[in-house]
Amino acid sequence: MLNINYPKIEKKDYPNLELNLVEPIHKLNLRGKSRDFFTKAGRILSIMLPPEPNTSATIKSISALWLSPDEWMVYGKDIEKNLMLSLDSEISKLNLGSVTDVSDQWVLINMRGKNVFEVLSKGSSFDFNQFKNNKNVVVQTLLNHVDVILHHNDINNVDLFVRKSFSEHLWLWINDSSSFL
């Protein structure tokens, strides 16, 4: 059974780095290829799913992240139940694509401050040089051998998604690495 108290993450401050758990927050995984899928998802969410690799689109408090040519993650606090029901009835049930609620599968940790990429670079082989200068970019990579999705939504402000079962381990690693800043 899902333990809603896991992971135990409390806000932490380090020199030029602030770590915070952003939960609960709705997260949806959308998959589809057809033109109808794009049209309906865009109309229901009021946001166009970004077709460009490694990019995101944000309107109000809802963000859509490119994950692969036919897969996106949509997250935000304003995703209401009616919206999810609309996606389900107009996309899933018509076989235009798939809509999966992954809110409990991923944990969102927000990292902000000038030292964000100092910490991330310690555990990832990804080259953050261009990434850190661009807003609304996304990367799926490994951080300390753990799969993560990184959304650079503002300069020096990163939303980090990690699978729930790995979240505490990664959180401890991030804190350990940050303590050496």
Binding site: L67, S68, P69, S125, F126, Q140, T141, L142, D147
Partner: protein
């Protein structure tokens, strides 16, 4: 360690990928008509050459898409990357 350019995500470290073996091995159209040796040949026998080889790779820790790579196994130099279903570059 080497860099692979995923046709969807761009340049990434090899640790994000998993190798899927030799590419362009066509499944026999009539498997039931094959002898045991022919079937074993299709299933298990690979060229495994030292030199330029056509391989399948999966961006397991990224977009999770499969694609083809032309790689020199002797020095890990990648000559070309192309999507599944596409023909390999002629040069």
């Amino acid at each position: 360690m080497f860099i692979i350019t995923c046709p969807f995500c761009g340049e990434r470290d090899q640790s994000e990928f998993s190798a899927g073996g030799e590419a362009h091995i066509v499944r026999p159209k009539q498997p039931t008509e094959l002898s045991d040796d022919e079937w074993a040949d299709f299933l298990f026998m690979r060229k495994n050459i030292k030199g330029v080889q056509f391989e399948r790779w999966n961006h397991a820790h990224g977009c999770r898409k499969w694609f083809n790579v032309i790689r020199d196994t002797s020095n890990d130099k990648i000559h070309a990357v192309y999507k599944m279903g596409e023909k390999p570059p002629s040069d």
